[in-house]
Symmetry: C4
Subunit: 253 residues, 4 copies
């Protein structure tokens, strides 16, 4: 009978591994579980956002908090099942139970899973730091598990990282040069907006990225002339990473 029970547990473990980790589109229940978890993740994020709206919080705050409790319970069960059933994952099979589970729990996705539910339990232990509550946002990153394309994107970014570092250096050089020059050109006329290099950097960044808030703009003739140059260099700041990414993609495929 003990053997029967064990084999039942074993079968449950294999099943829960299939449902959570190795689901294919043929396994109906696995698809349902995936869709349920994706929907729960999205609802959690919406609930998190709505809680910060005062009028919504006044009327629906109670329900939103109960929804949070429910979600944490589901995500905790999901986390525990993943940890429990991970010994069925081929590369971990040859390891001992706890060794496999520790190695599995150290994977980035699993750490995100844990951090996303941790603040709720820490609150019970008295550690109710407000900052920790932001960790609830990590629940959204759980969704990364369900998009194979994200892995490709990540791969492309990783392959092109040297070129992207180069772009970052160019951007930093452009940012620094333009904010310094603009600081010298405009500081006497607009001491509030261009009174220091970091302040001028706010303008320079919003111009180089072509965001262009317009809360701060050069007003002197020389400032506008130089500002025009900065705008044109901003085009280059777009062209470089986009060219790099486009090439990276075509190589990956």
């Amino acid at each position: 009978m003990a053997s029967d029970q064990l084999s039942l547990l074993r079968r449950l473990r294999i099943r829960s591994h299939d449902l959570l980790e190795a689901g294919t589109s043929e396994d109906r229940l696995s698809v349902v579980v995936d869709c349920f978890l994706i929907a729960l993740i999205i609802l959690n994020v919406i609930a998190f956002s709505l809680e910060t709206v005062e009028s919504v919080d006044a009327e629906w705050g109670r329900q939103l908090r109960w929804f949070d409790v429910g979600s944490v319970i589901v995500f905790t069960i999901e986390y525990l099942l993943r940890i429990w059933s991970c010994v069925e994952i081929p590369p971990l099979r040859h390891l001992k139970g706890w060794k496999a589970r520790l190695r599995f729990a150290a994977r980035p996705m699993l750490i995100i899973d844990l951090l996303a539910i941790l603040p709720f339990y820490l609150a019970f232990l008295g550690f109710d730091l407000r900052v920790l509550r932001v960790l609830r946002l990590l629940r959204f990153f759980k969704i990364a598990r369900y998009s194979p394309a994200l892995q490709t994107l990540g791969q492309v970014i990783a392959n092109e990282r040297h070129a992207l570092y180069g772009t970052v250096i160019i951007m930093a050089a452009l940012l620094l040069t333009s904010s310094t020059i603009m600081y010298f050109l405009e500081r006497h006329v607009q001491p509030d907006a261009f009174g220091s290099v970091p302040q001028a950097a706010w303008w320079a960044l919003s111009t180089l990225t072509t965001v262009g808030y317009g809360d701060v703009t050069p007003v002197t003739a020389l400032g506008q002339l130089f500002g025009g140059l900065v705008m044109i260099f901003g085009l280059g700041m777009f062209a470089l990473p986009i060219g790099i990414m486009a090439t990276g993609f075509s190589q990956e495929i």
Copy 2:
């Protein structure tokens, strides 16, 4: 004589099918019909826009409404001729008349054709919902029929949809993270603009897409520092879909 009349109808049906569906650049009349319909579509859209301008509506409202009546008549004739002559389309030829027509009428382009004229007739039957009048805009989408390049574009988007889903997830994650962090950084200083996460999302979206209205901007030092980071991540939000599309195009060709 009945046979003559039938064959005349048959010939008319083939001709109208040639004119509307299978026109080549050698068939002069087909080109004229196409150009007339394209011009009518564009004039309809312009008329629709102008009707909402009060000063134009006061002076030309009557004429615009008569133009609308005329257009509906033309589009109705076009629709009926398409339905009538569709049995000449090769893949539908082997079907029975009504079966072929029903299957043809269920095509997306034909549904758009119908919806674009339906509100006019519903108004006669007393169903004059204002919302329905927006369906008149669908007339513009009839133009899609005349651009073979649109099909290629649609194909590229369809092929790259997995990569584009990945991009949407990244964009949602960036949007969520930046609006939440900015909410914590600016809510005490600007409760009107950053008083909740959805409000902060308005700023975050306008920054990440590099639109940059500037109606709402961070004012604290920390807020501006973080805002600069969000701007730079916005560049990435451009680079990803553009890189994907560029690769998709080069593969398609």
Copy 3:
């Protein structure tokens, strides 16, 4: 002696053709002439811009007008020499003098050359329309002759014109749909900014192209939600033409 003079003319004509049309980097004088003309074109454009600045015009107006007279004389000589020497261009050699010259004068670049100097002479004949003076701007387009890369760019745009038409249709559809919906969402709250579809189109276009002036922004919750969607679609409006151009370039090379 007549024969000598003729052959001198002939040699002059060949020389002026070499200098203006068929210059290589080895022909020193041709390079000097090219640089002189490019510099004159750029100075003309700067002069044109400066004339519209009142303070500059008050002080330097006289000099700028004399510079204009001088430029017109140079450009007229250039134009006449080109027309005169065009019979030396290989594909025109087999034609009779005036036939070759007429065909040559009908080339786009030569028409630009003519239109760029015409307003000056028309002013002598009493036709001094202000609008005609804008034609002076065409002098800048003369510079196109000196950049072989522009021809490649033009070629790419010409090759991809069908795809670009498709993009224009998508852009028009996006513009129309977003301005109409925004008109319905915001017209009661902001009748000055969203009082008609064409007015709303100003907002929609500035958002879809990610320019984002911020002079007009949605203020209702629904309007901001829909505005966010429009911003994201604006990313697509970038991705399409850029993807098309990138592919076009890689095919051209």
Copy 4:
């Protein structure tokens, strides 16, 4: 003993050359030196920016100036070591000592190295021009030495320079045409913002680059219609350089 000392110097020179110029990731000390110099460069730039913030300068000005002195000493030692050890660089080995050093000192990176420390020493000699102090910014460009990807980027830009010139001409033509036309359309209504072509160019550039400050916008119906066209052409100004860069990258790799 003299020979021993010489060979010690020789060995030191080889070592310092290895550390500064020919460092590989296996040479631990070389990596440490590189990281130290990169960190010092970044700290210098931050210090330069912070010095311009009045509140920071009041409190930490003394420390920042001592940090500057320290940095100049380190960079001077680095510069002298590079000059001294450059005779170990293979292509310079066959030259005589001073000839090799002069040729080496004329390299762009070495000139930047020198200019970045020069203002400090000039101040001792009485030449304390404020403008010279901006040269301190050049310290940031020393970082280019540590990113091999920057060389690839530079290579791509150099290869595509003809196409990029073409883009610049198109941009200039667009800028000129749009600012002139807008000047005619808006100058009577907004003489402060569109009173001359250069003033209108500020609007045109901010629109064509899609920066869109919104400090100056057209208000007349015709002005807004034309402004919309300019926005759409702005998309093309992005598409061209990005398409060129993307193609350049894929060719380079």
